[in-house]
Symmetry: C2
Subunit: 228 residues, 2 copies
């Protein structure tokens, strides 16, 4: 059995769902009864393409990474989900016009509140506020993905890597980044060797300092200038 | 003044809009009065990023190409719109969660029926069937774009070019394709030299025959095998 929501989880759910106040009392009661809190360890897969369809997830804590995966195992990160974010594609099976597959993993230890697919499907059929939230989410994620696409297509790799390191610094709140070259390659959809070569160039230019499993930003200003 | 719809245009509009029968009589009357038929010549731009926001367009005839454009002028085709297709992003300004820019051009002489932005915005606020159509369209286009993204990221260029030539053959209904190497480069988001080199390789392998402004498919079976 999955853990039922405690009082604080349910409070979080009420605040986190834009449509909560517009649900009928009976619908609110079903959320209370049927939602569950799930815990994931760093690296756990929450969703693997069309193999999974657990339901809508509200991130309670931690960080999720949404990415696509090629047949040969290459990855590229589409976007991240942080506390209060809603994960739509873990319920992808209920949207008939969505016919692509994403993978979702916990980038660090994470807790989510799950609205199971059956319940979420019913609510989105019955309640216009739920449908409206879904539509805003799809349009926002579409915009996120277009941003990644423009980066991949139109931006040179040195700019992309500089931008990625600066984003990581903002997310972590520190310029000491625990990242392997493999992890960066998976985020940016490229080969590890390409990442290593560019990081060595950044180091030779005095922008970063490299050590095992760690990249330290030492000249943020120059990285910013490079990222444009 | 733009030409008002004649009887046949209006018939086409009624059949082409999935939500038409669910509109109020007064809303139907406004469509009759306020929609216009617009004609474009091959190469005309219908929509240029955030500079334009004419409204929803229903393709009456011809073919539109929707693409993104980099600051340096590089392009990549996202999808095409044919007769009966609805063009959503020519009304992008009314969707607040859509914050990317696309360009739209007539790939051949085309006619569209335009529902002006002001009217379309009102209808989508007032009528749930209109909002529903918009949501299905956004999700479908999202899927189209993810397909392009996976191709660009994960597929080698020889496969992509083979697939592109086969798609063109299907669209044109002919293996004699009037395409310059520049046009293909813009579709696929690459440099002309890369296209030329690969086409010459295809020719040396007996899959295509090249002449000025023309590519002829001579071994469809091998192209299909290459495209996978």
């Amino acid at each position: 059995m999955v853990p039922i929501l405690d009082k604080e989880d349910f409070q979080f759910l009420q605040e986190g769902l834009p449509f909560y106040t517009q649900l009928e009392p009976a619908q609110q009661a079903r959320l209370r009864q049927e939602c569950a809190r799930l815990s994931y360890r760093q690296g756990d897969k929450l969703h693997r393409g069309s193999q999974d369809c657990a339901g809508l997830m509200l991130v309670r804590s931690g960080r999720l990474r949404v990415y696509i995966l090629s047949q040969s195992g290459r990855e590229i990160t589409l976007y991240r989900l942080l506390e209060w974010d809603i994960c739509l594609f873990s319920a992808a099976c209920i949207f008939r016009d969505i016919n692509f597959e994403v993978w979702i993993e916990a980038e660090r230890g994470s807790e989510v509140i799950l609205i199971p697919t059956a319940l979420f499907g019913e609510l989105s059929q019955q309640n216009i506020a739920v449908a409206d939230t879904v539509n805003h989410l799809i349009a926002s994620r579409f915009s996120d993905v277009m941003w990644v696409m423009e980066q991949v297509l139109f931006m040179s790799f040195d700019k992309r890597l500089a931008l990625f390191l600066l984003e990581q610094q903002a997310i972590e709140g520190s310029g000491q980044l625990e990242l392997t070259h493999d992890m960066i390659a998976n985020h940016l959809g490229t080969a590890r060797e390409v990442v290593t070569r560019m990081l060595k160039y950044f180091q030779s230019e005095g922008m970063v300092r490299l050590s095992r499993g760690m990249i330290e930003i030492v000249d943020e200003g120059r990285l910013r200038a490079l990222a444009g």
